[in-house]
Symmetry: C2
Subunit: 203 residues, 2 copies
Amino acid sequence: MTATTGIPKRADARRNIAAILDAATACLAVDPDASINDIAIAAGVGRVTLYGHFPNRAALVARVVDRAIQNSDAELEAVDINGDAHEALGRLLEASWHVTHRYGALVLAAQSALPDRDFRDAHDKPAQRVLKLLRRGRREGTIRTDMPLDWQVTTIQGLLHAASGAVQRGELSAERAPALVRTTVLAALTSGHSDAPGSGSSP
Amino acid sequence: MTATTGIPKRADARRNIAAILDAATACLAVDPDASINDIAIAAGVGRVTLYGHFPNRAALVARVVDRAIQNSDAELEAVDINGDAHEALGRLLEASWHVTHRYGALVLAAQSALPDRDFRDAHDKPAQRVLKLLRRGRREGTIRTDMPLDWQVTTIQGLLHAASGAVQRGELSAERAPALVRTTVLAALTSGHSDAPGSGSSP
DNA sequence: GATAACTCGTACAGGTCTGTTCAAGTTCTA
DNA sequence: TAGAACTTGAACAGACCTGTACGAGTTATC
């Protein structure tokens, strides 16, 4: 996706682009309606410079989201999905928490700035990972099957967002959040008896 | 709260005010950033007429939210809180679902248009009811006590919003939602064994 | 049916945001 | 060090929103 043009950008240009992308990520994660002006200022460049690198708001948001997805994907890819589905889901949840918390409301910015299709594709990808794991858990009997699979995904996303919001509002410490999300989601989706008292660190 | 002025409004004025309030509720529930223009059109009145009844956006939103809170409160007040806490919470959840679904994103409109204090007060009130019930459930041993009370409230709100969103996006039918919310929340917050298979209609 | 209350369209002022242009500077690169 | 690439502030046009003003037309109410 990186420009097919043979001429490489100048060093300062590349530096600025990176700064803009970083600033945009930070701004949009907090306020999905952050203006181009705010972002330019946060990046330490002029508004015109920003427009020199990104044709419009949508393009910028798209790039930011793209990068966020890529990073998130790498982070989630590193999670060990094998072994007991219950345990694996727990690990995936904690990793997902970090991603959700870091990128916060960015998803909302994407939703209003990107064409529906693009947004859909981007947001669905991480869901696939969860979906796969849930299917396995259902097959193995650790995940309850008396509710739609989609709803279980919705449940997970909902709780992740809720936790992220609570932390941002200062109602919950960022340290406690991942364990709580893990415990709560597992309790909600587990079929039989549920234990998982502490945030177990058993090797 | 209704104007202390002795002179009652004319009939058509009252009718229009009602129409504006209804339209505003509907518009804001879908898009918290709906413009005054959109609302006026939806209400079937001129923009100027709207400004004749409400001095500004904030005042209109405040009235809409006020009414929504009042209605919600009545609806939730009608729920039987007595008896088994587990069962009672189930009933309260289904009622809460209807409220959440009806007023959707209105809470967001309130958040950005109202002074923080007013908003806080309004949104905290319904939470009190849940809080009270959760406390009792914890005391009685039906609700798990190994996670903060606040988090449990957050969990409930998060799942309600998630369900509302899923229905609006067409991923979930409005009929199935209440039972799913109920089952899922109870599974998440119940301490011991959890049953609640079907959406029981046992008298 | 007369009068006050109400509505309506148009139009305006002030604000914010987006995206573009331009002319002048700065900095990388070769 | 020369030239191309890049940055920059100021300034503009266009869009949209809020809130206000006005004059003419409707409609409830007594």
